[in-house]
């Protein structure tokens, strides 16, 4: 996977099947434009199976839960994950997020 697509907007699939459609749908659901959700939902459903579409919806739900739990409880990134994720954090500039301050040494 091309990591930069996680934080960039565009039509790049990032080496993931239907990556651009997946990202555009997530952006729409996380945003405030209901018309955009309708449009991106239709676009995504035209390229993935119904079962896969439901999986996307479930993942969006799940990470909206865990992100809030993580940020509201101030948990640090686990030491093993921290040690393994240095390149990813650097490439995506994750230290700019305020919650990086919950992990000693991350900012």
């Amino acid at each position: 996977m091309k990591l930069s697509v996680v934080t960039e907007r565009g039509e790049d699939d990032g080496g993931v099947a239907h990556g651009a459609r997946l990202l555009a749908f997530v952006d729409a659901v996380q945003g405030c434009d209901d018309d955009a959700i309708e449009r991106e939902r239709a676009a995504l459903r035209s390229v993935v199976s119904p079962e896969a579409f439901v999986d996307v919806c479930a993942l969006v739900a799940s990470f909206n839960v865990v992100d809030r739990v993580a940020d509201a409880t101030g948990i640090p990134l686990d030491p093993m994950l921290y040690a393994m994720s240095g390149d990813i954090r650097e490439e995506l500039h994750l230290a700019r997020f305020r919650s990086a301050g919950n992990t000693p040494g991350a900012r």
Binding site: M1, F25, V54, A58, L59, N64, A70, D71, I75
Partner: protein
């Protein structure tokens, strides 16, 4: 009083929803309205309603757009009997979690909300956010919140919970015994996100139930071969984008 949770209606989605997801949604809706550890069923439903109502709150929108959210005064759009400081915390967690901070948390606790009720409030707020995002994504109305169940909170505080580097006390995996022996399942490694709510063990169980149906079971997270109808790179791309948009470092 309705004793049975209102069954979600997925009809408008136009796609078949997995049975395990439907069961998880029913479980979570029932969990939210039941008496908890520190809050009554009525209070938990009020927290759930406050979480759901936060996106329509004018004060929260103004704060979200402000460089200094704490400098924007006003009253939240909320109904019910929750204290204003509780509504404020619920709305901030729902709308602007990326800008929560240790000083903010300390202020909430100094204001009179103890750590146990805080953790339970976080859980209800976040779980309802998840249910709402599922409905929004799949194209159905938000799941109805059922009437609260009667009963008193258990007020159970696990003795094993202690400072572990987060803002709130947590139970270390090696200390999860007795009533908490089941808390972390069979996972060889228990990440902090699973431990985060352990000051209120029943919320860890609810979070695990949600995660194993909506993502993958904790014990399988590190196995790259585990997938659903989406392949694993697709799953991780979606997860990473959500967390990036939420500006969540974890």
């Amino acid at each position: 009083m309705a004793l049975r949770v209102i069954d979600p209606d997925y009809g408008a989605a136009g796609v078949p929803v997995r049975e395990d997801l439907k069961e998880a949604h029913r479980f979570l809706l029932d969990h939210v309205r039941a008496p908890g550890t520190w809050w009554t069923g009525q209070e938990r439903v009020s927290i759930a309603a406050a979480s759901r109502g936060a996106p329509a709150c004018g004060l929260c929108q103004a704060r979200k757009e402000s460089l200094s959210p704490g400098a924007i005064a006003g009253r939240h759009r909320a109904a019910g009997a929750l204290r204003e400081d509780v509504v404020d915390a619920v709305h901030r967690i729902r709308i602007d979690p990326a800008r929560l901070s240790k000083p903010w948390f300390d202020e909430v606790i100094a204001g009179g909300l103890a750590e146990g009720p805080y953790v339970e409030m976080v859980a209800v707020t976040a779980l309802v956010a998840g249910l709402d995002y599922f409905a929004r994504a799949i194209g159905i109305p938000p799941f109805p919140l059922s009437a609260p169940l009667p009963g008193e909170p258990s007020r159970y505080r696990p003795a094993a919970a202690k400072p572990e580097g987060a803002w709130v006390p947590m139970i270390a995996p090696e200390d999860a015994s007795g009533h908490e022996a089941d808390l972390y399942g069979e996972a060889a490694i228990v990440p902090n996100i699973v431990r985060a709510l352990s000051l209120v063990p029943s919320e860890v169980r609810a979070l695990r139930r949600a995660a194993e149906t909506h993502y993958v079971p904790v014990a399988q997270i590190s196995d790259p071969t585990v997938r659903r109808a989406l392949d694993r790179p697709q799953m991780e791309l979606v997860a990473a984008r959500v967390s990036a948009l939420n500006e969540c470092f974890y």
